[in-house]
Symmetry: C2
Subunit: 275 residues, 2 copies
């Protein structure tokens, strides 16, 4: 999927919602825990209930790897299910990988060939080597960490570089040269709308994947106001606020309600920007 | 395994060799490709042939993930085999994970509980949140990327921070406060011995995991001269130079020869430091 197609999907669904599938075996409803593939069973129900409100899903690998190779199998089953049944939805592997070129190319193969993900989140610390191999796949995306939503983003991401810019700005400005609008996105946390606004100024066109709405405290309104561009340019993620809206048998129904509520706010935000 | 035990193992084996298990399904000998678990079959033979010369093994997750969940299963089988048959050998999951605290704790569970690794490599970009959960396990290690061996380490790792230090120095000096000598190591590439020497000056006691010997160009002598301390303080990794020393049926035998050759150089380096 390229930049234009992603924008078309957003306009068609009137939503730029990404549902984070941080599917924790200890937090899913009791009645699913006896399933052979409980993480997949949970995800399938969540996806079927929320797909009309979502343009992207973001399974977070840590939650699958916590169950070992069986968990990774359930991740694969989830991706396959989404791509088969909702082919216009972007699947972002939230894996935060990053390694030397020789190794990065294997990670790219893992996520883009072995498994049919559309995008992977990447840690930029090791530089171009660790990101470029993901940009060599037509229609696939490298989602580069820029300014994340956690408190300890201050430890390094916000350090001032000698030329006066913070590290996250250098990361964005440098890596914008490596790829295109069709294969590069940035992770920019929702918990710092003033930073989102500042980043939008020097990175006007790229899509941003924005976590931190809901459980972490950011709002759709703030994020839209600070970061939306003429092609929307935003995928706003909510994980826990949607998938754990209820821990009972009505979990999928409640997830749909939570997703719908966010999508309605997104629709209003798009409208107010004339999109 | 703690700092003292690791040093004792190095003294007992007269080696500080880490064998990198970058086991690539396309590069292993032909006769193994028909095995049900070819990556594991290769690793088992390599480990049995080299364990007398190695104090650590470092499977790189990318190469297993490239085969999907089945590859991850073979990674698990490899770790289990090593820990059962060579319990005094450190198993380092070269995974370069890094995420917010809630997620990092799941990765720690994945590598330290679900799978019995002793150590995990971590990308520091997101700060303390992403590293500290790995330091909460007795006898386990967080191996933090500092200055890596790839060319594009220059992109960000070597940026000058406003207080005049390069980013990698700030990463090390900051994260030294998070843990102890018993649970924290740093990745410092072998391809820049002068940097290794500089880092040893401000980080005198920690163990460094040093990749880049062999295929990437560094030598045991240079690394030892620049980085060894009174407790050795080095794990020097070689991957391709050992595991692909031969691509024929004698691959394990040739791997043992390559490992023995490095271990002999390490023994000499230890002796010359009076260890």
């Amino acid at each position: 999927m390229n930049y234009k197609q992603l924008f078309e999907n957003i306009k068609a669904k009137r939503s730029f919602l990404c549902v984070g599938l941080d599917t924790d075996i200890t937090l899913i409803p009791e009645h699913l825990k006896s399933e052979k593939y409980p993480l997949f069973a949970f995800n399938k129900a969540i996806v079927d209930a929320t797909a009309r409100y979502a343009v992207a899903y973001k399974p977070n690998l840590a939650f699958y790897e916590a169950s070992g190779s069986k968990g990774v199998l359930e991740f694969e089953m989830t991706v396959e299910y989404i791509k088969k049944n909702y082919p216009d939805v972007l699947v972002i592997a939230d894996a935060k990988r990053g390694d030397i070129g020789n190794t990065a190319s294997r990670y790219a193969r893992a996520f883009f060939e072995t498994i049919n993900c559309d995008a992977v989140t990447l840690a930029p610390y090791m530089g171009a080597d660790s990101v470029k191999p993901f940009m060599e796949y037509e229609g696939k995306w490298a989602v580069v960490l820029a300014l994340t939503s956690n408190k300890s983003a201050d430890d390094f991401e916000q350090l001032q570089i000698a030329d006066q810019n913070p590290l996250y700005r250098t990361v964005i400005e440098t890596s914008m040269e490596w790829g295109t609008l069709d294969n590069t996105m940035y992770v920019v946390g929702a918990t710092r709308p003033e930073k989102l606004r500042e980043i939008r100024e020097f990175c006007p066109s790229h899509f941003f994947l924005v976590p931190g709405v809901g459980a972490q405290g950011g709002t759709v309104e703030e994020v839209s106001e600070a970061g939306m561009n003429s092609h929307c340019g935003l995928l706003v993620n909510s994980s826990r606020g949607i998938i754990y809206a209820s821990k009972g048998e009505d979990f999928a129904e409640k997830a749909a309600e939570a997703a719908k509520s966010l999508a309605q706010k997104m629709s209003a935000a798009l409208k107010s920007k004339g999109l």
